[in-house]
Symmetry: D2
Subunit: 485 residues, 4 copies
């Protein structure tokens, strides 16, 4: 409705009412104006109405929605199914161009705007979440692992001779594979046990760097968010070490945006040393569907180099999801989610502690891990080798998702590398345990139900063990289930 | 509605009516049964109602939609925005697991089913479209370029010594960058001019192989679908050559699924020689949003190797789009689209020919290119250097999208490699020209409007040239616009 | 996006692209402008994108969507469920005010505009469909029967003494009840048999008028669209008679908009005599959900009087449905539907004729009925009393909907009035028969399938009758099913 | 997904995962089972996923969604626009049949089930809200006014001689027109002033009954929910009086479901005397779009009689809205809304009181009105005749909706009856005033903003009056705006 159409409307409906309607329209436009002008996440969330209005405005600017368009190219944004058109708000052209995933498209001004704004809003949120000096970032429609691969592939052009990536061990397959896929040899550095915690072995890393030669090392690949009892890597010290040796430093910050501690580590690392890029998952931090990540850094030109490394266009779907989500929540809504998460972490810790002592177990002491907790399963283990994996199966069946049991002595070979004690980030962690995490979006009910069901399972298990010590149980690939990856 | 609920309903509404309703339900379930049983694209398309019913059934099977679920993991499929949840039909968990993009997820039986079925239905369609002996394929949420990169990265593990990729020149940035990103050195082999057509220089390629040594060559990277006057590579001969030298062969079949000729080339190539994988765009062939590709091949284990190379989970969005689209169209609907496209290719050729001769130009004779056509612009060129790019700007402004003008003498450097005569796939094509393509989904109106507007532009241009030969025009980055990538 | 926002966008994305996007927006606005200016159904249908943009523009103008609104009234357009908000495009305030269903609402400029435009577009379509001199109309969210009641209630205020309504018999309950509900006594005038057709008995009506006295008669209530072998009433002659006696004349044109013949009758009736209002169903004529009607007439003030008789606000849902539908179809799309319907009427007639003669039956000769056809069932009837109703049940079970069988000798009492030969519009029609209609939206496949299944049923029935003349069958309330009301 | 399809799925995805998915499905079916079995509003609300699954299950049972259906009737539930189909969840057939709006439809088992369940769930909610002995009810797609008309039209058949309806005055047009439209003569009985409250004049009513003769009176038409300072009628006493004189009693309970006091009055009235039907708005009580009402009563057969009086089918849209809403909220959610409303009523009263005294006005003492409040405007009035209506305009412009100003001395003629002191329910209320209501869904922010803006307006007004006593202002139909109907 432009002014001409409002004027025409005044002939149909009372002018004073139309004027009020037109004024109401301006208040939506005002929100859009602020977004365009500042490129920041609005403090207060937008209504669904404003969001959909905005998206339909963007769609109108893409050539596939031009009323008079005729297309004789090989890619015209045609859509065969109206279900598909609708679910993408008729934004069909994706993001980027051949040369650069961040480039603007002549055929798709609306999609290009969407892409630019999303990256800008996400950058703002990274600052709000704690990495105040982040310089640049972009959303990429690949999950964390493949995004890390892209970073490594970009570094290859800067360091053509390098073959190794130094990697403090974390038992999660996709970040290991990210290095393999990029064609590098991961140098796995075992963690050290400090109390219950598994922490970065800085000395071993320094030793490795000297042994292999800095010029042969593509980068150090560290991790913040991880399952307890592993804790975030010593990012500050690693960043300092990287600066000293002129080795690039890529941080896997998978679900660390939700934790002020993880974000603080990155902020500090960049301040005192070197962090070239840090990568985070969209789904794990922003409650959107799986499939996107943010690649961010402190040097705009390096981040651009990565974005130019992505060959061709890409799906706009993850960008659209995170933009809708952040506009819905607003900065205040997102901050509220983060503080709720923090509170529920304490609640979860307290409840697990209570439960653990009731069952003769203990909550492992892992104060450096702000998200994940671990409870020992020594008693369960005493019931036999299979009891621990059986507990995993029982929880799965009872719809407790994400509670991951870690037995002793797992061994797994991934792309030629054998991990002893797989899942526990350590060749020989002292005890089997169970993980539970307080991740963004968790509710008090999640915690309470989990504790209740876990309590029941532990009781059942003990009863079973008491009654029939001999009866063998074969859980349906329980360990696999429990792995949770 | 299970049988118990139908029985209860009979107490509320007349049993005979409920029975008919229950019978009607079975006819939807029967369609789903066939899909699950055969894994093929249904011959006749499904109604939107059946599709949405099916998707909501899948969603119900994912843990994020379990009514009694409690989640204490780091990734629970929570969604903050109901707009986002809705547009993904509440399928939030994406596809794949850490180890493999084709793996099934314990937390998401519905999404896993979706993924498997999509790959199976897409395989069926590839067969229908002409590659009858294709053995395996999977949908990957990355566009063609990045998917090619993934293939190259996979091959690296098989051929650790190889550094070069042999590539018959095609002027499209993303396929060139796909090789650069993967860390290889593209060996660009210029095409030969045969009549108006630019064709693969087989002798030069064979020469290059011998010069570099087969063991140093990662693969031959050929192309089917391309802009005229380049035509599809001589896939059969290349496949034979690759077999002879034991060099892998990756085919960029970007928008070739829509052409029986391109598909036939691949089918024949695999029959007589070697094709390791062929990659095609989802959006260009199936009228879905940008951002997905199909990686397919004749050896199931190699295709699995590629799928296992993708580190981590991935977006289900492109899979969902293509599944919805193929269920909507049915095999018959898709075949109809293909035959319509073929007919409109002839119509476009005839109209362009007519127009060309009216303006003293000619339709280049490129019978081997089944999709793209080119019309000479010698007369326009005569009007001065900028006239050709100005034509591009004029068409853009008049909402003719995809009609790409190619001036003489362009030069562009991409990642260190300089392409003389860029955009024309040749260092010195004899004349400037304009491209138009008949791609899937094109309508007769697209063609007619394009011809009409093109006619007007050419007339305007001639008038302008006649009136004021001297007046300089600076089109707003017209060449860039025209590039159309 | 106002001009300020477009200007800001030019700083983010290339100005020339944004300008093209902004120009594209104007082409949508141009369509809206034409609609606002002319109040007519656009000749060509709008895209879904334009329609949804328009509806979201309207919604923005309603106070429940004002961003800064605070509500302390008893009706503020609040919505508890976002599913509900969404399905109504956030247009919550309905239409009308206490005093008048056509009045504009201070709180809802958008909904008011919607209401006005819908009535205006529908008026245009009535003209296009053949009643060129119609002066005024409005959509009312009640089906045909209740809308007729509203007309009668309005007339009561003009003719306080009148107690009777003259009604040429048509066996459809809701139009009979419409008079009862309004508190009047229907004077049922039997039809006369002319060949196979049942037609208005003009002499009997004139006689009744004289017998009862014109001043005691509220109106004549005639019918156009009806099941064969009844044919539309002789509207012209009735209109002349009403004019002569100064008796109001209300026409039930339930599904007559789809037939140029029915519309012509009304146009002619109004030209030569008197028609006060004619009422038509939205769902039967415009392929929208059940629940709305159009009350139209030739005297604007009388139509306004009816609209002011509706006490209070009303649902905007039927208005929204018909507006979306007509904007989607465009005038040309609706005309196409009508001409398709006409052609399929001929096809249905021809197929039924062929089938009838194959089974020793005949297609009744009812040339004045442009929609409904009837085929005799003498042979079926010969098989026993229940055979005819059994045929109805068989068709129902085989998903042939709308094919209505009419046995002889039905008798039904509705609100105290006994109809002998109920369903056949006649106390003693000569033969039982089966009805089939060619209604708007019918497809060739509907006809072919119906003929095929009907053929099978007739054969099965004959076989059963031959085999076991004695075996009694009790169809589950077959007659009821067949009644089809 | 039936068991056969689950079995097939187990061949594609791990059986244990599919089994969990199938089990998850059962938990949704279990909710549906409870609904079908008990016909009650579930205590806890359903998720959007469950609701949409349920609605799609219902739609599948309607003949327009049968995959093999062929239709040759005049009403086949065809839909021209997919936007329209989608927004109605493909439930197209509406509710009811010719004979009865509550009847089941052979062609639409799903829609029939929807209709029955909605009425049943709504009945449950009426009980929960306080009318525990209500026997029957149905949703009708007409707003309160027209629904009252339907009740009066039904009574006419029971009391053919009656011409009058006794109506304690309430200044709201649609309930007055409801009587006029039905063809009766409203006998307006003025209220009596008790303190600030306007209450039913029982003696005057008894007098009128005797004067007119009970047999000439169709019914007493009383009102619960209304604007202060009028308070709900003395329902108990009226019900007793009606029983005594054998006069039917219809209660306009427009927005009374949200107030336990209003509901208690009806419950008590029915216990000690006679209430034939009570009518309530859907939108005002259940936060759904305008356009539906519930007609309820204590004698099932009378309620059925009303439902049978509605001639023909009707829109299912209001039923669908209220069903979705109640399933979303659950009984607990609805009760929460009611208790929130009650609390905010106290908050509003307190805030208004504070504001009033700050401006030298007072909150009128109307303890019998549980929803609406009134604040005197004596001071404003002192500023001149137009000041009061100007305040209305100012509030409208500042997006305070629903705050209705009532000046002295209004006079309005509706259908021939002149109301002196219109809007104030009294010929001469002592002071002008402003209304504000705490209606269901109101938020604390609504109240705070309203108070703040009202404060500003009052200050502005006073300043203006002080500065320029003489300057005349002509608000754009301010009084009309303020009327709020």
């Amino acid at each position: 409705m432009n002014s001409e159409n409002f004027a025409l409307s005044e002939k149909i409906v009372l002018p004073s009412y139309i004027r009020q309607g037109s004024q109401a329209r301006r208040s939506h436009e005002q929100l859009i104006r602020l977004l365009l002008e500042q490129g920041k996440c609005p403090e207060e969330g937008w209504s669904e109405g404003t969001i959909e209005l905005f998206l339909s405005e963007l769609a109108v600017m893409d050539s596939n929605n031009f009323l008079g368009n005729c297309g004789v190219g090989e890619r015209e944004g045609r859509v065969a199914s109206s279900l598909v058109a609708r679910r993408h708000y008729r934004l069909i052209h994706g993001i980027g161009r051949s040369g650069d995933i961040a480039a603007i498209q002549p055929k798709a001004a609306g999609s290009s705007l969407l892409n630019k704004l999303t990256n800008s809003v996400v950058l703002d949120i990274l600052k709000i979440a704690g990495v105040r000096s982040v310089a640049s970032c972009f959303v990429v429609p690949m999950a964390t692992g493949m995004s890390l691969t892209l970073c490594f592939l970009t570094l290859r052009h800067r360091r053509p001779k390098a073959r190794y990536i130094i990697w403090p061990r974390i038992d999660q397959k996709s970040c290991f594979k990210a290095m393999i896929t990029a064609g590098f040899e991961p140098v796995v550095v075992e963690n050290v046990l400090e109390g219950d915690e598994l922490r970065t072995d800085l000395a071993a890393i320094e030793h490795k760097i000297e042994e292999l030669g800095a010029e042969n090392i593509l980068c150090v690949h560290s991790t913040t968010s991880c399952f307890a009892p592993r804790v975030p890597d010593r990012i500050e010290e690693l960043a300092t070490m990287c600066a000293k040796h002129s080795i690039p430093h890529i941080v896997n910050n998978a679900y660390g945006v939700q934790s002020s501690k993880c974000m603080h580590l990155i902020q500090q690392g960049a301040r005192v040393g070197r962090i070239d890029a840090f990568v985070q998952s969209l789904d794990k931090n922003f409650m959107v569907p799986v499939g996107g990540a943010i690649i961010a850094g402190f040097d705009e030109s390096f981040i651009q180099e990565i974005s130019k490394m992505y060959p061709g266009r890409a799906s706009a779907s993850p960008s659209l999801d995170v933009l809708i989500t952040l506009l819905t929540l607003g900065a205040s809504g997102y901050k509220k989610l983060l503080s709720d998460r923090k509170e529920l972490y304490s609640f979860l810790a307290q409840e697990l502690k209570r439960l653990a002592s009731a069952h003769g177990e203990r909550l492992l002491h892992t104060p450096h891990n702000p998200i994940s907790l671990a409870m020992s399963l020594d008693g369960v283990q005493a019931g036999g080798d299979r009891a621990v994996t059986q507990l995993g199966s029982m929880l799965f069946t009872r719809q407790v998702s994400g509670a991951r049991v870690v037995p002793l002595g797992n061994e797994q070979t991934v792309n030629g590398h054998t991990f002893r004690g797989f899942m526990s980030h350590s060749e020989s962690y002292p005890c089997p345990y169970l993980n539970a995490a307080s991740a963004v979006g968790i509710t008090q009910e999640d915690v309470s139900l989990c504790i209740k069901r876990l309590d029941k399972c532990l009781k059942t298990l003990r009863r079973e063990q008491e009654v029939a010590d001999a009866a063998p149980t074969v859980p349906p690939s329980g360990q696999e289930l429990a792995a949770g990856e």
